[in-house]
Structures are given as C-alpha cells and as structure tokens.
C-alpha cells in the first residue's frame, strides 16, 4: 500500500493511493461556484464526482470517456463522500472530485474512494472523518480482503465481491455493495474483517496527509 498527497499543483487538493496493483489518482477542485446553476442547493454544497479508467489501466484497452460503469462508481463515491464532508458548511458551492484509475487490478472503486477522501482533506475541506475503503470477498471457503482480478475470477460462477467503505473513527459504513452470492454469516465476517483492514488504511491515510506538511521541503 502506498499513499501520497499534494501531487497535482493546479488542484486545491490531490492524492494518490495504491493498493496491490490497483492505483487511483484523485484531484479536488473547489469549493467554487456551482455550475450548472440548477444543481445549486441553498442550504448546502454539492459534490460532483467523475470516475474514469485510463486507457492503459487494464490489459485490453479501456475506452476513454464515461461509460455506465463509470457513472455508477462516480455515484457511489459521491454518496460516500456526502457522509464524510460537512457540506452544510458551504452552502451554494460545488466541489469537483475527479478520480482516475491508472492501474486496475480489481477493487478500483475502493481505491478511488480512499484517494478521493484524502484529496478532500488535502483541499482543506471540513470533514467528519476520512473514508477508508477496501473490498472483501471469498476465495474458495476462505474470506479475504483486497482480492486481485485473478482471485476474483477463481470461482467462475459464484464469485463474491463486497466493496466496503468506512468512517473508521465513527464506526460507520458509507459504502457497501455486493456482487455474487454470499451467506448472511459470511457477509458479517467479511464486514468485520473489512473493518480491520480499513483501520490499517486509515492509519496510512493519516500518515500520508501529515507527511506533506512536515517534510515538504525534503521532497
């Protein structure tokens, strides 16, 4: 796992998060005037999230542009960040979050969410907590975290993929999706193990955010 912030000069906040072979880059712009104007909320700000896979991120080229999968992931990241960022403190404003996946090996939405939340903190936005996100699943009978593409495809028929997002210090879940089949007990176990994994990611995030301001001159 690797995490780094402040990588994009022109953005108000930016971050890179790498877990296994999956890597996501996030840039946050704002708070700024809402465009398009009709999305404006008088009592709170809004988050507009764009998720995209870079063409070279997967073995067979990913078509550039936002497809239906990208739209869905943008939406789940927005929903998760809505719980983390204190939007009611910035009425009539917009925060643009752009996330790009430069290398994909399963679990991209989790890596993207983690990077996006770090970028938000780096941009100086008021937040309740950072989001730590990890995907869980099953290989054979054993429960694992952060599966690779190969591990995910191990069961061709009954693959299980559970992306999870947590607010670790609040003990809240902000993202939970399920792909495939899983029993109720196993899902509970996956969430429990996911929490433990998220705690480790959370520590890494905190360290990365502080590092930029402590050692800026050394880099």
């Amino acid at each position: 796992m690797e995490a780094e912030t402040g990588i994009i000069e022109n953005a108000n906040g930016s971050a890179r998060f790498k877990i296994g072979k999956t890597e996501a880059i996030a840039a946050v712009y704002g708070p700024s005037e809402v465009k398009p104007k009709h999305l404006e909320k008088v009592d709170r700000g809004i988050i507009l999230c764009k998720y995209d896979m870079m063409p070279f991120s997967v073995p067979d080229r990913a078509k550039p542009g936002i497809d239906r999968r990208d739209m869905e992931i943008g939406e789940v990241i927005t929903n998760a960040l809505n719980r983390a960022v204190l939007l009611e403190e910035m009425p009539r404003s917009m925060i643009a979050v752009n996330v790009y996946v430069s290398q994909a090996d399963a679990g991209t939405r989790c890596a993207s969410l983690t990077a996006a939340s770090m970028a938000c903190a780096d941009a100086g936005l008021p937040m309740r907590d950072l989001v730590a996100s990890v995907a869980g699943g099953k290989i054979g009978d054993s429960i694992c975290l952060d599966l690779t593409k190969e591990e995910e495809d191990f069961h061709e028929a009954a693959a299980t993929d559970v992306p999870m997002g947590f607010l670790p210090s609040k003990n809240e879940i902000v993202l939970l999706q399920l792909d495939g089949k899983v029993t109720r007990e196993d899902l509970r176990k996956i969430i429990e193990i996911g929490k433990m994994g998220a705690a480790r990611i959370y520590e890494l995030e905190k360290k990365a955010l502080k590092r930029r301001f402590l050692n800026e001159s050394k880099t």
Partner: protein
C-alpha cells in the same frame, strides 16, 4: 481528557478531547471534540481549535485584500480576490469622486486594487469597499500569491520577516490577507523579494526562517 498537544498536526475525524470544549475547526459528538480539518491544534483554557493548513481563501469582514478587476459595469466593479466567488465594489464605496457610466476611466479591467472586505454573505460571497485613505488602486502589476494560511510566517513576529525583506530589497510590499502580495521596486530587488517569498512559502513550517531568508539575501548579493 485532552488527547493532543499544542501545535500538533491532526487529520479530520481525529479525537481531540472529551471535555466538550471545542472552538473553531472542531465539531462535537456526545461531548467529544473531533477535528474538522487537516490542520494544526491550538489549545488554551477556553478549549481546542484547529486551523486548516490549506484551502481556498475565506473572506472575513475587515480583511484588507488585494484584488484584480475582472469586469466593469455602470455602477460597480467586479473584483477577483481569489475566494470562492468574485466580489463587488460599488461605486459609492470608493474614496474618489466618480461620474457614472464611465467607471473604466478610474479603474479598468486588469487593474489591482487594495480594498477591505466589509460584508460577507452566508455563501461566502463578499462585498469590498475602498472607503478610507488606506485603500487605493495599485500602480504596477507585480504580484505573488501564497496560501493565506502561510501569511503569518511571511509577516513574522511583529513583522520581523516582512520588514527584513522590505529592507534588504528596497521594495515596497503590500500583503493582502487573501494571500495576494504586491511587490514594487527595482528589478533585482523585486526578483530577490519574490525568491524570499517563495522560500517562506515552501519552508513555512521550519524553524529559524528569518535566518534562512538572511542567508538567501547573502547568496543573492554574492552573485550580483
């Protein structure tokens, strides 16, 4: 119980104390105080506050700022002060006489002005005013920008840092509280001043900055 030390760096969501005494930059949940920002902790007997280390300038009433005119209408100027929204300078709020409909005669697009934020709206939009003898149109266009949170380091204790830069470079320097800095003087002085400002911006968290800036000026003098 307090969990952090003074001047410690904290991330959003970090537990600061459990006595319910949270000030700026914190929020309360069940009498527990959490940080709202990635920032620096300041504790005193009144409670704990967190000041953010980055972010867009938030206008506050009474701030003296430097802005650039982006639009001239018949009754007001639109001013960019590097905040979330453009601000407005009304024709009644200037310290010189104006004839209506010809406002670009006095202050034109692209000009820099030194003005005061006198009204802030709930959405962080603001109005600026140039009433008072302190405020004026800035003649040249040499500006630098730093993060507003880094300004205190650039000013130094009792203005030690900024006075040193002014003395050494023989430049006139005006600091806007929005992080915009206006510099005027001879060419070499200006570039030396900008180099010093950049050094402070890059190393603002380090100790003995005044010494380091002095060193920089020594080096500049040797190369000339």
């Amino acid at each position: 119980m307090i969990h952090v030390k003074n001047y410690e760096m904290v991330t959003p969501g970090e537990l600061l104390s459990e006595d319910g005494k949270g000030l700026n930059g914190t929020y309360l949940e069940d009498n527990r105080v959490f940080s709202k920002f990635l920032g620096m902790v300041q504790t005193n007997e009144k409670g704990i506050s967190v000041s953010p280390l980055s972010g867009v300038y938030r206008p506050r009433e009474g701030d003296d700022v430097i802005g650039q005119i982006v639009e001239v209408s018949s009754k007001y100027w639109v001013v960019d002060i590097d905040a979330q929204y453009y601000t407005r300078l009304d024709v009644r709020d200037v310290n010189f006489r104006v004839d209506f409909d010809d406002l670009d005669k006095y202050i034109d697009r692209g000009d820099l002005i030194y003005a005061r934020v006198f009204r802030v709206y709930a959405n962080r939009a603001a109005d600026v005013s140039m009433r008072g003898t302190k405020y004026f149109k800035l003649p040249s266009k040499m500006i630098a920008k730093v993060d507003p949170v880094k300004l205190p380091r650039l000013i130094g204790k009792d203005g030690a840092m900024i006075n040193l830069i002014k003395q050494e470079t023989h430049c006139e320097i005006i600091l806007g509280q929005n992080g915009v800095i206006w510099v005027d003087g001879e060419e070499t002085g200006k570039s030396a001043a900008l180099a010093a400002i950049k050094l402070v911006e890059e190393r603002y968290h380090e100790q003995d900055l005044v010494e380091k800036v002095k060193e920089l000026f020594e080096n500049v003098r040797r190369t000339i």
